[in-house]
């Protein structure tokens, strides 16, 4: 439905580097990237706020040079950008001043019920909490009946206690209001809950894109794996595996320590270098040759093994826990 081809935009010494991707109708597409990777700049380009090089198609139509008001895309900024001169209700219905919206009354009633904002409709936007502002910004965007909803870190300014409830609402919006969402975030947990498809962005480039489960569990590059929180990334030669890939990763919780070697698993002689006690587990740093492994060992296991800094033992990993990158 949305197709972006070679989108290029230079601002100062930062640029979006010929990005290409496609978003399917009624899907939830997450662009995942660190702060400063160009996510907001990309969303603004899709909304028509930035003049870009390259092409943007929506359906069959080339919308590259359409102004924002002609694109029909909704936008929710990280800081919500509610108009301070208008009340909550006036903010929500702002779009009806400029475009014909079908079944406005039913839609309005449904939105305020869905987002539970009936009690704040007459308030000034300056008197709202972060969560309320977020819901009002969502309501305003949905009310404009967007063909595509662009969300710029919509959960970052929301109290963590409300985040799960709002994520649930976000997921429901696609079906309930027959729209498509592009959501940018730096939080991969948010992405893993919401996304059908993911694009991972770094320094103005898209490094990987595809189905969410595949990207999150089987990243194809070390940079993406590191960004997604993969630990213990080492060369495949270490496990004498005919390399499916150059490197592999192992989850710190999947590392086992033993005083004897096991033939059924990969076991390496190691030296315990550092131990940090956390409430219910220990962080253990163990050196195998020149590689330093990081493991999380449950408290009871740690005590049973009697691990101490400086001792030599075996560090074992199971084949099934290895992720090749």
């Amino acid at each position: 439905m949305l197709k972006v081809e070679n989108l290029f935009l230079q601002k100062g010494d930062f640029s979006l580097k010929k990005l290409s991707f496609a978003v399917e109708k009624n899907s939830y597409f997450v662009i995942l990237g660190k702060t400063g990777s160009g996510k907001t700049m990309l969303l603004e380009s899709l909304a028509g706020i930035n003049q870009i090089n390259g092409k943007i198609f929506f359906g069959e139509e080339d919308i590259t040079h359409l102004p924002p008001e002609k694109r029909g895309f909704g936008f929710v900024y990280q800081d919500f950008v509610l108009f301070p001169n208008l009340t909550v209700k006036e903010n929500i219905v702002f779009a009806s001043r400029y475009k014909q919206i079908l079944d406005v009354d039913t839609l309005f009633a449904d939105i305020i019920n869905f987002l539970q904002i009936e009690h704040i409709l007459e308030r000034k936007t300056t008197h709202l909490s972060g969560g309320e502002k977020q819901r009002v910004a969502m309501a305003r965007a949905i009310y404009s009946r967007p063909k595509l909803l662009l969300l710029d870190e919509p959960l970052s300014a929301v109290d963590p206690t409300f985040r799960n409830a709002i994520m649930k609402s976000l997921k429901e919006i696609v079906k309930r209001y027959d729209t498509t969402i592009i959501h940018v975030t730096h939080n991969f947990r948010e992405a893993s809950y919401l996304a059908d498809n993911i694009a991972v962005m770094m320094d103005g480039s898209i490094l990987e894109q595809g189905e969410a489960n595949s990207i999150l569990n089987h990243p194809k590059s070390i940079e993406v794996a590191q960004f997604l929180g993969f630990k213990n990334i080492f060369p495949s030669s270490l496990i004498h595996q005919k390399a499916e890939a150059e490197v592999f990763s192992i989850d710190p919780s999947a590392i086992l320590f033993s005083h004897t070697s096991s033939a059924s698993e990969y076991c390496f002689k190691c030296t315990i270098e550092d131990i940090m006690g956390i409430s219910d587990h220990y962080k253990v740093f163990a050196r195998v040759k020149e590689h330093l492994f990081f493991a999380k060992v449950p408290k009871h296991m740690f005590e049973k093994l009697d691990l101490k800094e400086g001792i030599k033992c075996f560090l074992c990993i199971k084949k099934k826990d290895i992720v090749f990158i």
């Binding site: 603004e44 909304a47 028509g48 706020i49 102004p67 924002p68 008001e69 694109r71 895309f73 909704g74 936008f75 900024y77 800081d79 950008v81 108009f83 301070p84 001169n85 702002f94 779009a95 001043r97 400029y98 475009k99 305003r140 965007a141 404009s144």
Partner: protein, 257 residues
């Protein structure tokens, strides 16, 4: 807190000195004139017509600058362009120029030469006319409104404009429905400053248009011809009217903001 006492006493004393300096002459003027002579003066045709002319000319000057200066202020606030700093400095020049010099400059520009002839051909004369008074007020006080509007626009995050446009508003609609209302207080403050600065304009006005007499010229005229006794009630009347209008506008703005 005890250590603060000396600090506070010094600051309160210094603040009181300047406050009294600003307040006492005004109070003294009203005490000197008294309520009866003040009322009597306000009923003097020459006085009330002069005050009305002053209020009106300054108001029209504000309207003209609002129409032309607000778009300029928006462009300065939103865009970076070649010569922007120079333009901003240029806009502040009138504040520094001696007012009589400004009057002379206006006279040279609009009374003689091609520009003067052009305006005469479309029926606009500046010498001894309300248009001339307006031009003098405008020349010297426009920076107050333009700078106020510029600050106001700078405070309105450009993302509000982006947001309004994604919701269907055109550039122009966005300006009127979002940008202008959110910069309103600064613009209104600028307009009030410009208007009140215009009310007190004497140096430039007296050169370009001695007649019809605006209040500052009338006060000067009465002072030089008849002395303090006759000029003080006019001065008090002018201050009373302009302060009343000023406070009324502030009250209305606060009530509806």
């Amino acid at each position: 807190m005890i250590r603060d006492k000396g600090f506070l006493i010094i600051f309160i004393f210094l603040g009181a000195v300047i406050s009294l300096f600003l307040l006492v002459p005004l109070v003294q003027l009203f005490l000197n004139v008294g309520p009866f002579r003040l009322l009597e003066t306000l009923q003097d045709k020459e006085v009330y017509e002069s005050i009305f002319l002053t209020l009106k000319s300054s108001f029209y000057a504000v309207l003209f600058v609002a129409l032309t200066g607000i778009p300029l202020a928006y462009l300065i606030a939103r865009y970076d362009f070649w010569g922007k700093s120079f333009l901003e400095s240029l806009l502040d020049v009138p504040v520094m120029v001696p007012h009589t010099a400004a009057g002379i400059a206006l006279l040279v520009t609009f009374q003689n030469g091609e520009i003067g002839d052009f305006f005469k051909s479309i029926g606009l004369e500046f010498m001894d006319t309300t248009t001339g008074i307006m031009a003098a007020m405008m020349f010297l006080s426009a920076p107050f409104l333009i700078n106020g509007a510029k600050e106001g626009f700078r405070k309105v995050d450009v993302k509000y404009e982006h947001m309004a446009r994604t919701l269907g508003a055109s550039r122009m609609s966005t300006f009127f429905s979002i940008v202008l209302p959110n910069a309103r207080n600064d613009i209104l403050n600028g307009a009030l400053m410009m208007w009140s600065r215009g009310l007190g304009e004497f140096g430039a006005v007296v050169i370009i248009a001695y007649h019809p007499m605006v209040a500052p010229v009338l006060i000067y005229d009465r002072f030089t011809n008849f002395g303090l006794q006759y000029s003080a009630p006019v001065a008090a009347s002018m201050i009373l009217v302009s302060v009343s209008v000023f406070l009324a506008i502030r009250f209305v703005n606060n009530k509806f903001s």
